[in-house]
Amino acid sequence: MTANSPVAVLRIAALTFVLVAPLVLNAYWLFLALQVVVYTYLALSFDLAYSYSRLLSFCQGLFFTLAAYVATYVASSAGWGLPAMLLGGTLGAALLGAVVGLMLMRMHTHAAIIATVIIAAASLLVGNALSAYTGGDDGLSLPTEQIGIGLWQMHSGLNLATYYLAAVPLVVLICGLWRMRGTLTWTVIRAVAQNDVRARQLGYNVTLRRYAVFVASTAVAGFGGALYALVMNHVTTGLLDISVSVNAILYAVIGGLETDCGALVGALLVLPVTELIASVFTYVQIFVGLLLAVMAVAAPKGIVGTLLQHTSRSRTVQKTEANDDGAPSDGLVRPSSI
């Protein structure tokens, strides 16, 4: 067993569960699993923005919601509803992300975070002010239930096709992030996120890289938003409520920030638990808030992050013991970041 096997096992278990869920779950739990998948995109987008562009963004929900609205508007595109929804939603979110990112990248970290709170809160006001287009609290429904590509058409809502349409790209995305970890590109992205001064000294364009990651994170949120419209058949301005973003943030925090599968692990653990609590206790958001506050203070690294830290410590201890046994030490102190 390698030192990081607990995380590898957790990652494989989470991904396998997502892929086999339709085979083992009844309709109710499968619908919940589908929500887990869709909201994981939102949580993952938050994690990407925070971990690799150093922007703790409370406005990822805006990109998610915008994409859901764009997808709803383009769903009836003659026979090509599916690509129109997914591409339209993703591109719409990324475009808005590109504009918002221009402003955020100019700001000091703390002010930028506050700006995302302002944007999140303002977007709900704007969404309600534009109720003629957004439907306000009542929202908009998908104009058609037949969505597809050319001759291949499928139903929107919960079914095997929509489930795998949402789940497979998520699995690919997480595996992609996992595989990218050893590459030079990823090392540079991490370096830029962890120490911008040193990264600048090494000649990297820090702002451009952070901006690119932020826009990519909004595209991920957008893809999730488009899927939300597809599986829920309905979108309202309620999605712009900051509590939606806070819930997704909770998934990422509990799972573990700066990890490839933390958002998924967090969503898999928290969403079903909150659903169960909600069935007996109306004010479940009290529990969500408490959990977020406690996790932020007591275990900000989350489950996967804590496991990684633990295994990293074990490795260090093993290396030290090996060195003590006579292995020569090079005496170098290697910084954790560049």
Binding site: F58, H110, I113, L125, Y283, G289, L290, A293, A296
Partner: protein, 289 residues
């Protein structure tokens, strides 16, 4: 009413709102300035002040001014408790820790209020029901009294910071925390006082707003964007800038309310101020950040 009368009325409304917003943002700015904590639950303190005032008046039968005195004190006491159980533990840690913890706190306070006081909006009669002639229009006396009180509190806080020992500590600690600690400044007590003062001013703003806007568990979320934008555009940690931008915000919102619905006016005011952050990322008056 003539058009000028409508504009004057809305501008006065905007000025009153701007002063109440300045009261809310003052605490936010003080806490950030001293402790580098952006309290996302600050709007919930405003909401709590309003809901407690409405509850004290409508259910306990207290007179409005009595309720408006007690409610902010309760909010300040709550903040003292939170200082012990939460703020002390996030102080000096990574920005994300304090922001995520206070985001959780926001959900807890809002939903506890929903659980205990219900989701129905509550209204309270204004303690002054007359009106005065001002700039050729008739304007409710209570709103002017609320604005006057807000100005008095803002001045009192300014004088407190300028002329008292703890005021000096509150200004000195952010500039040289280590030196302040070495010279015997009771930093933990200064932090607690700042947090309580933030709760007091936000709770008072909520109490004063109750006869104007009513009280509802979601009003804290509604104030979140305006209170944060005036703090950032004013220059993070810059008290004078925050108060000035709050008043500008109120006046702009009032002016826009002449031509559009209150929600649209609020949204447009926010959208007008957001681009300022692109051109002046450190705010109009600069700040500590």
């Amino acid at each position: 009413m003539m058009d000028f009368d409508v504009v004057a009325f809305q501008l006065l409304n905007g000025l009153v709102w701007g002063l109440l917003l300045a009261l809310i943002a003052l605490g936010l700015c003080l806490i950030y300035g001293l402790m580098h904590i952006s309290n996302l639950a600050h709007g919930s303190l405003f909401m709590l002040g309003a809901v407690l005032t409405a509850y004290a008046c409508n259910t306990l039968g207290l007179p409005f001014w009595g309720a408006a005195l007690i409610a902010p004190l309760v909010v300040a006491a709550l903040m003292l408790l939170l200082d012990r159980v939460l703020f002390t533990h996030v102080l000096g840690r990574e920005i994300a820790v304090s922001i995520l913890a206070t985001a959780g706190l926001l959900l807890v306070i809002d939903n506890l209020v929903l659980a205990f006081f219900g989701g129905e909006p509550a209204s309270v009669d204004a303690p002054l029901d007359g009106a005065v002639e001002l700039f050729g229009i008739t304007y409710p006396s209570y709103r002017l009294a609320a604005a006057g009180l807000a100005i008095l509190v803002l001045l009192a806080v300014g004088l407190f910071l300028r002329f008292t020992k703890y005021g000096l500590f509150m200004r000195a600690v952010p500039q040289a925390r280590a030196l302040a600690a070495a010279t015997g400044v009771p930093i933990a007590r200064v932090n607690a006082l700042t947090i309580a003062l933030g709760g007091l001013t936000a709770g008072l703003a909520g109490a004063l707003a109750t006869p104007i806007t009513g009280a509802h568990f979601q009003m804290g979320l509604a104030i979140l964007a305006p209170s944060f934008i005036v703090v950032v555009v004013g220059g993070l940690g810059n008290l004078g800038g925050t108060v000035a931008v709050a008043i500008i915000y109120g006046l702009l919102r009032g002016l826009l309310s002449v031509a559009m619905t209150p929600t649209a006016a609020e949204a447009t005011t926010l959208l007008c101020l957001l681009p300022v952050l692109y051109f002046r990322p450190r705010g109009l008056f600069g700040g500590g950040a």
